[in-house]
Amino acid sequence: MIRHLVTRRKSAPIFGLRRRAIGRTVLFLFITILGTIWLIPILFTVAAAIRPQADIINQGMFALPKGIHWQNFTDAWRVGRFSIVYRNSLFVTSLKPVLGILVASLAAFPLSKMRFRFSNALFFFFLLGLTVPVHVTLLPLSSLLRSMGLGGKTVSLFFPYIAFGLPLEIFVMRGFFNTIPNELLEAARVDGAPSPTIFWRIMLPLAKPALATLFITDVLSTWNEFLLALVLLTGTQNYTVPLGLAYFKGEFASNYGIQMAGVLIAIVPVLTVFLVFQRYIISGLTTGALKE
């Protein structure tokens, strides 16, 4: 290997460099064009949302919008009952991740730090949940929730949402807890600290990075969830945003401006969370599946 470096030093660099520079420029242009194409759907949604219906019909797609037709947005908000739908989604999306991660962390604590007979079996049991799609629980879940008196109400979503989120969250929290040195816990035990105290005062605070990543990922999945909401919720006053949007599309099929305004109202929050917390989201994706 070293001999190679020594003997090839003179002839390799110059041609290689120029060819590489051209290659990189072409690649960059290509990616830029592709990226622009990728943005088109969102750009045109914005363009349609800010134009009145009449304008779209008369002037066609490519006419420049003349200012922002806010009416589309207020109509979507009011007529599409987005204020209610938003409130429901905000309710579920802000609480479910907290509850779910808490329950998962509580479970991950013994799985990681206590030795007991069924520890591995239970961990495996939870992991298996990753293989299960929500589709197989729909029918029984709707009867079960109805018999609990929660039929069709937004609150009913909490239960399956938390349950389905547990496998991944337990996996990640347990993995993270494993990295916390046992000496810390032993020292606390020697000082007489009971387990709950160890959990709250040591495990959770140290797990902040994992908690943050899980939280953000959970927020996104919860906001976007559709199938369970579709099946379990009845009545527009209980709908979450994706459901409201689908219903909205059915009702206002012919008014594109309002429809697109509705889409924007629905996606702006998640896009904002994404743009702000990109790092967490992307690291969250790969953490759960690759290493750790």
Binding site: L27, I31, P41, G60, V103, V132, T137, L138, V263, A266
Partner: protein, 298 residues
């Protein structure tokens, strides 16, 4: 990774403490996932229509119907297979290509990463509504673009043709799904030591050769994960199809998940619906199981 707890020695017999911590998770998990799952399995072995209280045990007949008798179930299966093949070919390969490209440390990598992954972050229903607008025959972007370019003859009702509607749905799905493999492959690529590639280059290996013989094999773990996840997502796919075509025109774009939904919740053929759901699950379970084994050993 276990504590040799001093207090443990003083306790009489096994502690119930771990189980107390596990209790909330176990209760929620069993009551709202495991138990319903098995109830569904039982329902799938019955004939249960509408809101009747009578269920007749019919064994595997529903499954026979799905695989052999019901033309729409068979179409749905076929559509799911088409969906998988397309998804593995297009968005996955593109994701890999983009990852390789972005790994070259071009300027603006973060911007590109954002723009290709952003579609994956928004609700699929929103993706559906956006693309229904793009595909609109009268005012939609695609047809308008064609008219503007003078290619009027190519304009069409994109989602209205039973023969091709599924493919236009796949285009929308591709838009949404390219970012996901891209992110994974980027992470995987960053695990490949630069020296290996540089050494190969000095030895005279061209870019393609380096890619196929070094990069691809080293990405093996990422490949497995991505392929598994894409296969599962393809069988579960529901939102986009439901929003854009509702399984139509006719039933041409039905997939297992949508057909299950219609059977269970609109026609109230509960037994058949449950069986369809279990077909989906069986597939996802089989595909993910090897994975779970690996994860459980970590």
């Amino acid at each position: 990774m276990h504590i040799h707890s001093l207090t443990r020695l003083r306790r009489k017999g096994p502690s119930i403490e771990p189980y107390l911590f596990l209790l909330p998770a176990l209760v929620l998990y069993v009551v709202f996932m495991v138990y319903p799952m098995f109830q569904s399995l039982l329902i799938s072995f019955t004939r249960w229509e509408g809101l009747e209280t009578t269920r007749t045990f019919i064994g595997l007949q529903n499954y026979k119907t799905i695989f052999f008798d019901d033309p729409i179930s068979r179409l749905a299966l076929k559509n799911n297979l088409i969906w998988i093949v397309w998804t593995l070919l297009l968005p996955t390969a593109m994701g890999l290509g983009l990852a390789v490209a972005l790994n070259q440390k071009l300027p603006g990598t973060v911007g590109f990463r954002t723009c290709f992954y952003a579609p994956a972050v928004i609700p699929l229903v929103a993706v559906g509504v956006m693309w229904s607008w793009l595909y609109n025959p009268h005012f939609g972007f695609l047809n308008e673009l064609l008219r503007w370019l003078g290619l009027d003859s190519l304009t069409r009702s994109w989602l209205g043709d039973p023969n091709t509607a599924l493919y236009w749905l796949l285009v929308a799905s591709t838009w949404e799904r390219v970012g996901f493999p891209m992110i994974f492959y980027l992470a995987g690529l960053q695990g490949i030591p630069q020296q290996l590639l540089e050494a190969a280059e000095l030895d005279g290996a061209g870019p393609w050769s380096r890619f196929w013989h070094i990069t691809m094999p080293l990405l093996r773990e990422t490949h497995i994960i991505i392929i598994a996840l894409q296969v599962i997502a393809s069988f579960k796919t529901f939102d986009i199809i439901y929003t854009l075509t509702g399984g139509g025109p006719g039933r041409s774009t039905q997939v297992l998940a949508t057909w299950m939904y219609f059977n269970a919740f609109q026609y109230h053929h509960n037994g058949l619906g449950a069986a369809l759901a279990w077909v989906i699950s069986a597939i996802t379970m089989i595909v993910t199981f090897p994975y779970i084994r690996i994860m459980s050993r970590r």
